[in-house]
């Protein structure tokens, strides 16, 4: 009976008209990189439907300070297409796994002119209504210290040491107490054996009677 019910629920969910859930696309917010290095821009999506064979990813680049956009990578119908004419020629590679909802790209040999916003648009037909997500790329000559890293590191290390010292102290006390306890138990056991041999020699204390008032 329960199995029939479960099967019915699954079938109903499968054929019922889908509530209008949009596809949700996730990329990073901001990425920092050094000149000359490679960077992997990740893009993944969430969709209520299974990954279809027509899943597609599109990456669009908008340079800093410009309003014009240009497509640099596209994946559709099982094939990945990358920029072969523009500024990212031969530098972009599609490294995602669309079957696992991953549409990441790898950009090689970064330059200062690559500063800008990269937008990922994913479509999982028939789930195509979604908001593309953007990640901002910042290319540095020297990676700046991110705000608060040193602060957090110092505080974390000192408090960690404090916790460690307290834990070790209580552990030592516990272990020492256990050893002392086991030692005293063995001593007490020996004493008990000797005590039983001497019991015949033990006489009860004399009863003292008090005269009634």
């Amino acid at each position: 009976m329960l199995r029939v019910l479960a099967l019915a629920v699954v079938v109903l969910l499968g054929i019922a008209p889908e509530p209008s859930q949009a596809i949700s696309i996730y990329t990073g917010w901001e990425r920092h990189a050094l000149v000359g290095s490679d960077i992997r821009l990740s893009c993944s999506f969430f969709s209520w439907r299974f990954v279809s064979d027509d899943v597609s990813f599109t990456w669009i680049y908008r340079p800093d300070g410009s309003r014009e956009t240009v497509s640099i990578a596209h994946y559709a119908g099982g094939e990945a297409y990358t920029d072969n004419k523009g500024r990212f020629k031969d530098r972009v590679e599609f490294v995602g796994n669309p079957k696992r909802r991953d549409g990441s790209i790898l950009i090689k040999n970064l330059d200062f002119s690559d500063n800008g916003t990269f937008t990922c648009d994913a479509k999982n037909p028939p789930d195509i209504v979604g908001r593309p997500s953007s990640v901002r790329l910042l290319v540095f000559e020297n990676l700046p210290i991110q705000a608060g890293v040193i602060t957090g590191a110092i505080i974390g290390v000192v408090l960690g040491l404090l916790v460690l010292i307290v834990v070790i102290y209580y552990l030592m006390r516990f272990l020492v107490a256990r050893r002392v306890f086991s030692l005293s138990v063995s001593k007490h056991g020996k004493k008990k054996k000797e005590g039983s041999q001497q019991r015949q020699l033990w006489t009860p204390p004399p009863l003292t009677c008090y005269p009634l008032p």
């Binding site: 210290i145 602060t151 408090l159």
Partner: protein, 158 residues
């Protein structure tokens, strides 16, 4: 009894001084600027604006983060210290000293000293201006935490 109350008040006073020194952005003040370990207040057109501190290489922001961390740690140790002191009041056997509370206070003293020393050595070496109230309170807190920890190390529970 009176000593204990006095000691608690001293400890609370050091906590308050440490918190003000850490939170208030006033380690260095000039006529139109009050700056510190977290941000900078700039007087523009009669209104104080909250702005970010400058970054490397003009301003040693890595040492700034060390000052931030050590002053926060001083506050944390002092606050833990007061709770430990209250716990020790009830659990310590007679005749024993308040060593652990003393240890926390001396750690707070050490850390605020490190914070203030780094700030004195690395910041505003050639600038015009004065040290602000947070900086002064940091040094006063250093002295008071030192006195407090010495008293904890010497005092015996009756």
């Amino acid at each position: 009894m009176l000593i204990l109350i006095g000691l608690s008040i001293l400890h609370l006073a050091t906590i308050i001084l440490l918190l003000v020194a850490t939170i208030d952005n006033a380690w260095w003040v000039t006529e139109g600027m009050s700056t510190d370990v977290w941000a900078r207040w700039i007087l523009q057109n009669g209104a104080w604006n909250y702005t970010d501190l400058p970054d490397l290489p003009s301003y040693p922001s890595d040492y700034l983060q060390a000052v931030q961390a050590t002053s926060v740690l001083a506050c944390i140790f002092s606050i833990i210290g007061i709770f430990v002191f209250i716990a020790q009041l009830f659990t310590l056997p007679k005749g024993q000293r308040f060593t652990i509370s003393g240890v926390f206070q001396i750690l707070a003293c050490l850390f605020i000293m490190i914070a203030a020393s780094i700030y004195t050595d690395r910041f505003h070496i050639n600038d015009k201006g004065n040290y602000g109230h947070s900086y002064i309170l940091a040094w006063i807190a250093f002295g008071l935490t030192f006195i407090s920890s010495v008293v904890y190390f010497v005092l015996r529970k009756k």
